[in-house]
Structure formats: structure tokens, C-alpha cells
């Protein structure tokens, strides 16, 4: 495309212009952008696009320039920006009716979800042709020797508590094999490697349980960005429902078939509004199945309680924040406790005490 000037948008006036352009195409301002590009025709903003981490989002072109290949210009510029920072795995969000355009530019459609009640819809695409296939083939390999049917629990375990243990024990008794997918995104206070190890050690006594890395398609910043940020009320709830629906669609379409999973296990969520929305959507959608994927039963287990209080990781973190590490001891298995008092845990505990993060 000739004649369009590309530059990063910074000033409040430019941002204002951009949100008007986005709104005119029925798009919301994504938020948390790391790069925001604008394309100008004689000082008039005619196209925009942004990067939110490794996700291309908020791509809009002025109606007057439609069909002139400007979306390809915007997409190319964003891809370059993303790859310059060394990102290889890139995703893109679009409106469901525009997914085709981006498929034509070399993206692969992963999932489309709509929430009838709010009328919101989104498609998630990934750059390149083999990401999801490679990944599902890799996890299918781990399930190769497994039974015909299995169950799945997706956990963050920030950190692994007796509540998690009880949930997994409950699940393991109800399925021939239980796969525990540990959310891999490293945005929690406990680093992934530590969370994963504590899950592995925690379930080592349960013979039919296998812990797996969650990877990029299970509650990641691509499939479920709002999981990792605080939710604002109102609009935030609707957006969270939409992302939850996308994550559930991916689970039904790719994850469950790869693991031959027929059942999914969740714990009731007393504290976190995002997780309780996720659980609700899961109960609504997984048992129905989707286009091209079979139903998955959902089992919700009440949180394990001690002295009338649910045992959850957020409570463990709150207790650490308040200072009394010793108070955490009754809530976690021996393996987690050993880690918490080890040298390795010290920086994490410092971080929890000085942080307000929900995760």
C-alpha cells in the first residue's frame, strides 16, 4: 500500500481517534497493548492495529479504504514488530465474520465462540499452520498407552494445596486415568517450574494421575487473557465469558480428543470471580459438545474445608502475605510445605508479601 504513513500511536488525541475508529468497526479497545500502530493518510488515521503480548488485536480499517489491502499492511507491520522481539508463536483475535480474511493472510483458525446472551463473539487464530496440530500430537503421544477414557483437571496450583489434592483424589477415583494440566503461563506468583513440580510431588501417591504441562492452548494469555488480570465489573464480566467460551471450545475441540478425555473435573470457586464464570460456562457448554467435538461431562466438587473455611491457594497466599507462614502448614501437603520453607521459595515469599497481585 502506497502513501500510508505508519507510526506508533502515543498521544491522548491519537488514542481518542483510534478508539473512534475501532468503535466504528464494532471493536473494543483491547487494553494492555505493548505496541499500538496507526496508519495515516494525510494526517487522518485510517487504520490501526495493536499487539497485546503475542496477540494481534484491535485491527481496524476505515470503511472508505476497505478492500484495498490495508488490513494486510497492518497485519504485516504487527507481525514484524512481534517477530523483532523474538516472538515466534503469534495469535490474532478477530470478529467471527472476519476470521476468513486473516486465514487468507496465513493464519489458522483455532476456535470461534459466541455468547448469545450478550451478542459478543470472537475468533482466535494463530500465525502459521502447524502450532495446534503439533501440540495436540505431542500430548496425544503422552496418552498413547492410556485407557480408552480419561478425565482432565486444569489447575494453576499457585501453590499446590490440600484443596487441590482432595479434588484430584476425588477425580482420580472416578476415571481410569486423570490428566492434570498445569497452567503454563508464567504470570503467577509461584513460577511455573515450581508449581509443576509441587503438583507432580503432590499427586505421586495417586497411581492413575499424570501431570502435564498446560502449554499455549490451555488457559494461556492467548486463550484466556483476562484470567491473568483483575476483572472489572460489568463489561469485564462479559469479556471474561467470551474468553472462557473460547478456552472451552479449544478444550473440547483439541485437548479432550487428544487425551481421549470424557470427563472434566473442577472445584467450586468461592473467591475468584473469573474462575467462577469459567466454571459456569464450562458446565453450560462442555456437556453439550460442539461442532465436530463430543460432549464432555463436567464434575464440580465442593472445595475442601478446614474449620469451615475453603482451602484454596488464594487463602494460602493471603496467609503468607499476613506473615504467618506457620499458619499455612495445615492447608498444604508435606511436599508443598517443604518447598515453602526451602531456600528456593524465599524470593517467591518476598514477592507475595510485597505484592497485591491476584495471582
Amino acid at each position: 500500500m502506497f502513501g500510508l504513513e505508519e507510526r506508533a500511536l502515543v498521544s491522548p488525541r491519537e488514542m481518542e481517534e483510534r478508539s473512534r475508529l475501532l468503535a466504528s468497526r464494532g471493536l473494543a479497545v483491547p487494553g494492555n497493548e505493548s505496541v499500538i500502530l496507526g496508519f495515516f493518510e494525510e494526517e487522518r488515521l485510517v487504520a490501526t492495529g495493536s499487539l497485546v503480548g503475542n496477540i494481534l488485536q484491535g485491527i481496524a480499517v476505515d470503511r472508505e479504504l476497505e478492500g484495498e489491502g490495508v488490513a494486510a499492511t497492518v497485519t504485516s507491520a504487527l507481525l514484524k514488530k512481534a517477530m523483532e522481539t523474538g516472538r515466534r508463536q503469534l495469535f490474532l483475535y478477530s470478529k467471527p465474520d472476519e476470521a476468513k480474511r486473516f486465514e487468507a493472510l496465513g493464519f489458522t483458525l483455532l476456535a470461534t465462540a459466541t455468547v448469545e446472551r450478550t451478542g459478543l463473539g470472537a475468533s482466535l487464530l494463530e500465525w502459521g499452520a502447524e502450532g495446534i496440530e503439533k501440540w495436540s500430537a505431542a500430548i496425544a503421544m503422552k496418552a498413547e498407552d492410556g485407557p480408552e477414557k480419561s478425565g482432565v483437571a486444569v489447575v494453576n496450583c499457585n501453590p499446590f494445596t490440600l484443596g487441590h489434592y482432595r479434588l484430584l483424589e476425588y477425580a482420580a477415583a472416578r476415571t481410569p486415568r486423570l490428566y492434570v494440566l498445569v497452567v503454563e503461563e508464567d504470570r503467577s506468583l509461584f513460577p511455573f517450574e515450581a508449581r509443576f513440580r509441587l503438583v507432580e510431588e503432590g499427586v505421586s501417591g495417586l497411581k492413575n494421575v499424570v501431570a502435564l504441562r498446560g502449554g499455549p492452548y490451555v488457559i494461556s494469555s492467548a486463550t484466556f487473557p483476562t484470567y491473568f488480570s483483575r476483572m472489572e465489573s460489568g463489561e469485564g464480566e462479559q469479556v471474561t465469558e467470551l474468553y472462557a467460551a473460547l478456552d472451552i471450545e479449544l478444550f473440547g475441540r483439541y485437548v479432550a480428543p487428544a487425551l481421549r478425555a470424557t470427563d472434566r473435573f473442577v472445584g467450586t470457586e468461592p473467591y475468584c470471580p473469573v474462575t467462577s464464570i469459567y466454571n459456569r460456562m464450562m458446565k453450560e457448554r462442555l456437556p453439550k459438545g460442539g461442532e465436530g467435538w463430543p460432549p464432555v461431562r463436567v464434575h464440580e466438587m465442593p472445595r475442601f474445608e478446614i474449620y469451615g473455611l475453603p482451602v484454596s491457594a488464594s487463602r494460602v497466599r493471603a496467609l503468607i502475605r499476613e506473615g504467618g507462614l506457620e499458619n499455612v502448614r495445615p492447608l498444604v501437603p508435606e511436599s508443598t510445605w517443604k518447598w515453602l520453607v526451602s531456600k528456593e521459595a524465599r524470593p517467591v515469599i518476598e514477592k507475595i508479601r510485597s505484592s497485591e497481585s491476584r495471582h
Partner: protein, 89 residues
Amino acid sequence: MNGVKNSVAGSLESSDVLVTVGPAEGEENKLDVESIVLKQFGARIRSVAEEVVVASGVRGAAVRIQDRGALECTLRARLETALERALKA
């Protein structure tokens, strides 16, 4: 790592091609070609790409070509630039 860095050249605009280069698994070069004219020119695109990749001396690179109907000279230029960037110290 094999010293191949992530690099990009070109664009997805009509009559252009986007070439991305990154480290591959292992020492072999890996070449992926997508094109809107794959049936007609896929083999030619592939042979030009192989020639430019070999000439660059790169090893262990994953080269991805996303062709939007570029002329051969464009394809060569984009490939050379992307590879040069990928190998720059």
C-alpha cells in the same frame, strides 16, 4: 542454539512476500512455502528459495515463505534480506 536469529522481511501485501527466518530444531534447514499461486508456481518458489538459502550458507534455519503473488526478483530480495538479518552477529 545455532546462531540463527529471528528475522522478517517483506509483507503480506498483494504482490509481495513475507519471509520469516528462525532457528530450526537440528542442523537441517527447514523450508515452508505457502502461496496464493502454489499450484502454478509452488515448485518454482521452492527451488528459488532453496537456491538462495544454500547460497547464504545458513544451517539450522526454519524459513517460512508466505507468498502473495510476488515476482521472482521480489522473492529473492526478501529472502536475501531476511537471511542476512538472521545471520547478522
